[in-house]
């Protein structure tokens, strides 16, 4: 699975303040795009109140192997109908604890950089020697 993290949530994730994944998630294979702008367009990141922008230089994503999510998938809250729509199938998830092994990547145009891996309690970054 893959989830694009709003920029302002990246730090809370990495410093342990945020320990759940919630909201719209996608199959990784459906949502592997080459550049941030594609993410923006395809995943409807321009929703009202979004801090994503179409010309952002980078976007952070979480990737994890889907666990049994039957307990957390729900119909999404009713949103007003005039927002942008995702072009790929999307799933709405109630908060779940971040699965062990979840990885964070930074996507820039044409490249992706491994940022950290969640060990279940903390994010381990490469420089610390995962």
């Amino acid at each position: 699975m893959q989830k694009v993290i709003p920029p302002r949530l990246v730090e809370p994730y990495l410093n342990g303040q945020r320990s759940v994944i919630a909201g719209y998630v996608y199959l990784a294979q459906d949502s592997a795009f080459a550049d941030p702008a594609s993410y923006y367009r395809a995943l409807a990141l321009g929703f009202e109140g979004s801090d994503f922008s179409p010309d952002m230089a980078e976007v952070y994503v979480l990737r994890w192997l889907a666990l049994d999510m039957t307990g957390s998938l729900l119909p999404p809250p009713v949103l007003d109908g005039d927002g942008p729509a995702s072009t790929v199938p999307e799933f709405y998830m109630l908060p779940i604890p971040i699965p062990v092994g979840t990885e964070m990547y930074r996507i820039t145009s044409g490249a992706q950089e491994f940022i950290a891996r969640y060990d279940g309690q903390v994010w381990l970054r490469p420089m610390r020697g995962i």
Partner: protein
């Protein structure tokens, strides 16, 4: 107070994390647990990776309450304020209540503690067996509006993709087919079989009932978890159904496939009719605390299949049929170990157990289908030996280090203490060579399995000449390895339903002859997992034996002394 996952391991609850695969569970402890539990130090905590088979309960601890009249869940408890998330279904309302939209459709807030009222800590049990569908009404436990918008089985996707596409799994790496569609026929079949069969054992009843009653007693409305089956019953049923073979590559099963699998699931029976996935419940795994042990001591009455390994004429048929003596159980028992000592000295049972648990699984890992290079499957495959090793190598310490070293360096020809229940091949070899007088002492030393046949075999032949003994020995070598295996497995109290010989049985560890040799694998949900291929029959059988014994040891079935010594065990 915060939202988290919990699990019970050896009677003690821990906070846990799930993943990377669905069968993997990581236990966390803030303080160092007893060393013999094998926790490892990590950043700010202690951790131990186990598999679902090793835990007795898995649940979400969900502190839910009401914030300004609407339901919320407490994500974290950072201090004087609570980090809560909106659980309702109306975005506008959420905003009006003061929530922040931290992400599209995600509304959260740091709320003054006193404003969150009616806080209760819900316990939402999760299935222990990977691949098992969650409680059909699970997600609705906290659904705030009395009646769920639609059954859980309905696609939660606003614009669901066309169902089939075989429920593409999460990452491109997990290419297993969508489980729901594929396994259901099997499950249903099995379920039907289970229900149709007269409840032959308590174990089966215990296992089957909670599933159905759970379905019956939990309407898809926002009724609290109190209405779900009592923890105890789910505990019993959980482990029983728990075929979580150590290997469960999460990849295939529930994982992401579960999410899109929601689409295929639309065609399932209504949400209220939870598939009793318990058929495998009738297959007591050694890992299943309650039922597993019961199974070990009293094989299920439904023994037609279970007895198969012993009663079927062996297709591997060696001259045992020609030898009337060999057909008697006692003779078989006596013969059983002879080849071990004479043909293959390395096959000393205890030695092979250690080697199998410690080394074999990884050493023999082959790039076969279930363990193909994909990360998920690979890591899952690694779990098995790793878990075993975790037991074998206690937390680093001087003694432990020595023990750890001693495993690989072990001289397999060195006589090892024979655990109770094992036949000592060396004594048997002596017995073969020595005159009858020498047999007696040997039999006295060896455990039941050996002494019984020895004494029963020699009532009238106390003076059997050595030459005749040798002649019998020659015949003994022809005893099928299969029978040796079955004999040993019985002596080790391995539930017969845990394995299947020359047949593929769902939920069991199977050994199948192939044109090239023998395959040993776990049949789970129609997929062969942890497949190992052996050219040599004995290697295949003893690999199978090693894995089974390892699991029995792990679950405590074979090591009551260890369990009793566990400070956490208390009243084992």
């Amino acid at each position: 107070m915060r939202y988290r996952l919990m699990a019970t391991y050896r009677g003690v609850p821990y906070e846990v994390g799930l993943g990377p695969s669905n069968s993997e569970v990581v236990l966390f402890a803030a303080c160092p647990p007893p060393e013999d539990l094998g926790f490892e130090p990590a950043t700010g905590h202690w951790r131990k990776q186990v598999i679902r088979a090793e835990i007795d309960g898995l649940w979400e601890s969900r502190p839910v309450g009401t914030f300004r009249g609407e339901p919320c869940i407490v994500l974290d408890d950072p201090g004087e304020r609570l980090h809560i998330a909106y659980l309702g279904g109306d975005a506008e309302r959420a905003v009006n209540l003061g929530y922040w939209q931290v992400d599209r459709g995600v509304f959260e807030l740091l709320a003054p503690r006193e404003e969150v009222t009616g806080l209760v800590e819900e316990r939402v049990d999760k299935p222990l067996r990977w691949g098992e569908q969650a409680d059909a009404t699970g997600p609705m436990a906290t659904y705030p509006y009395g009646r769920a918008p639609w059954p859980v089985a309905a696609p939660p996707v606003p614009a669901p993709r066309p169902a089939p596409t075989a429920a593409p799994p999460a990452e491109a790496t997990s290419t297993q087919v969508g489980p729901a569609a594929d396994t259901e026929p099997v499950d249903d079949q099995l379920a039907a079989a289970t229900l149709a069969d007269p409840p032959s054992t308590d174990a089966r009843v215990d296992a089957a009932l909670p599933a159905t009653s759970a379905a019956a007693s939990s309407p898809p409305t926002g009724i609290s978890r109190a209405s779900s089956p009592p923890a105890e019953s789910s505990r019993v049923s959980g482990p029983a159904t728990d075929i979580p073979r150590p290997s469960g590559p999460a990849a295939g099963i529930p994982g992401m496939s579960a999410a899109p699998a929601d689409v295929p699931r639309v065609s399932n029976p209504p949400a209220g009719i939870q598939r009793p996935i318990s058929p495998p419940a009738a297959i007591p795994r050694p890992g299943g605390p309650a039922v597993g042990i019961r199974g070990a001591s009293a094989p299920p009455a439904d023994s037609s299949r279970i007895n198969a390994p012993l009663t079927d004429p062996s297709p591997l048929g060696t001259p045992s049929e020609n030898d009337p003596v060999a057909d008697t159980p006692l003779a078989r028992a006596a013969l059983a170990s002879a080849p071990l000592a004479e043909v293959r000295p390395t096959a000393v049972p205890s030695a092979s157990v250690q080697r199998a648990t410690g080394v074999l699984p990884t050493a023999l890992a082959q790039p076969t289908a279930p363990t193909r290079a994909e990360d998920s499957a690979q890591s899952a495959a690694d779990t098995w030996p790793a878990g075993v090793n975790a037991r074998m190598e206690p937390y680093p310490g001087p003694i432990a280090a020595e023990e750890a070293r001693s495993f690989p360096a072990e001289d397999i020809s060195e006589p090892l203490p024979v655990p109770p229940g094992f036949y000592d091949p060396e004594s048997a070899a002596l017995a073969d060579i020595a005159p009858a007088a020498a047999i007696r002492p040997a039999a006295g030393v060896t455990p039941a399995g050996a002494s019984k046949p020895a004494s029963d075999n020699t009532p009238g032949s106390d003076v059997t000449p050595a030459s005749e003994v040798r002649g019998r020995t020659a015949r003994r070598q022809r005893v099928p390895t299969r029978e040796i295996f079955c004999e040993l497995a019985d002596q080790a109290s391995i539930p017969r339903a845990a394995y299947a010989i020359e047949t593929e049985t769902e939920g069991a560890m199977c050994l199948l002859p192939t044109p090239d040799g023998f395959d040993v694998f776990i049949a789970a949900d129609g997929v062969r997992r942890e497949l190992r291929s052996f050219a040599d029959e004995e290697a295949a059988y003893f690999y199978l034996f090693g894995v089974l014994v390892a699991e029995a040891i792990r679950s405590g079935v074979l090591a009551p002394a260890v369990a009793a010594a566990n400070p956490y065990g208390g009243t084992v």
